[in-house]
Amino acid sequence: MLLEAVYHRYGYDFRHYARASLTRRINHLFQRSGLKHLSEMIPKVLHEELFFDQFLNHMSITVTEMFRDPYFFAAIREKVIPALRTYPFIKIWHAGCSTGEEVYSMAIALKEEEFYDRSQIYATDYNKKSLFIAQEGIYSISYMQQYIDNYNKAGGKCSLSDYCFAKYKSVKMSDSLKENITFAHHNLTTDGVFGEMNLIICRNTLIYFDRTLQDRVLNLFADSLCYGGFLCLGTKETLDFSTVKNQFETLSKREKIFKKIT
């Protein structure tokens, strides 16, 4: 009922999110809210903008890091970028970009493969707060050691610190990485195709959706990819249950990189 109310009032559709983890997040928010009954959350979410913001942020908690799953980025360098070199210009869509760490990681990999200048990256998310953070490109310095390890494992050719500068407890990504990135609001559950892409990355977002919504989103990706384009999913995600399965062949079974063959 809460999800129906949110959809009708705000247009955000959580009705086909995977129920178990969604229920957990809602219960967590409920416990922190101090309310006595779950049903009290409905009027609060509908009428109090601040509470709705909290709700929205709770629904999109994502854990991310620079060069997460470093071998994925290594596969991008070794298999995907060489295949895309035939194009004079490519478009990349980072769907569900969260706070941007993986977008900047892609930008760095493209720079080092001397492909950045021929790329336009669209980084989208439905959470405006995450988008803002992504646009700023400022992260806590406490994660840097992990990020440096990841960068090296991913085949980094220089040093991660070449692409950012540190001040006090933060690290800011350099502006040169942002030049070819457009950050925009896009909701995978409700919005449509906005361009024809050569590469779509959507990692560890689909696990939060049920099969119906996963299929909707995978169809959206198939419609947004040109022939020979690549789709990259999270390491535990699959095309197996979707209606677009036969439009793709597998480029990397382990890193979940698929090539569109229709």
Partner: protein, 193 residues
Amino acid sequence: MSLEHSYRAIVIGVSAGGLEALSLILPELPESFALPIIVVQHLCEGRENNIPKYLNSKSSILVKEADEKEVIQPGTVYLAPAGYHLLIETDRSLSLSLDPRVNYARPSIDILFESAADVYEEELIGIILTGANNDGSHGLRKIKQLGGLTIVQDPVTAASDCMPLMAIQATEVDHILALEEIGPFLRRFHSTL
């Protein structure tokens, strides 16, 4: 405990000492064992996880890593992949999550047990084995609250007694069993699947 009571699933939580514990229990189960078993074992995230393969080679029933959206089948053991929380949906499928760690753990035993309790209620058996932290106490308590059967490995026989002890403190557990008694105990349960 009533043998007429029909159970439909077993969940197991284990941490430090897990491989030995599971290696002792799973081979005890016959090929005809009908209940599915879903396991969270605290693991280090690494490139390869050979534990499912290893345990599968020692068991008569199928042991595998849980796959995203996989529907739970009878007589199969599902192991949570390293670094992901494992949850059960109302349609008896498995789903993964990358939510933050709970009690420093991902996969978290509490998360599995709580979602399993919601789905299976009194038709669930929950087992806490050896471990060095307190993950699983809340989950086991919820299983008990919803009418399920709760079993904890006797702390005296555990490689790490912390997790069993915390579980026993949090709930009035139905059975405290030595490690080698657990396999034979489970053999007595057949579901009407």
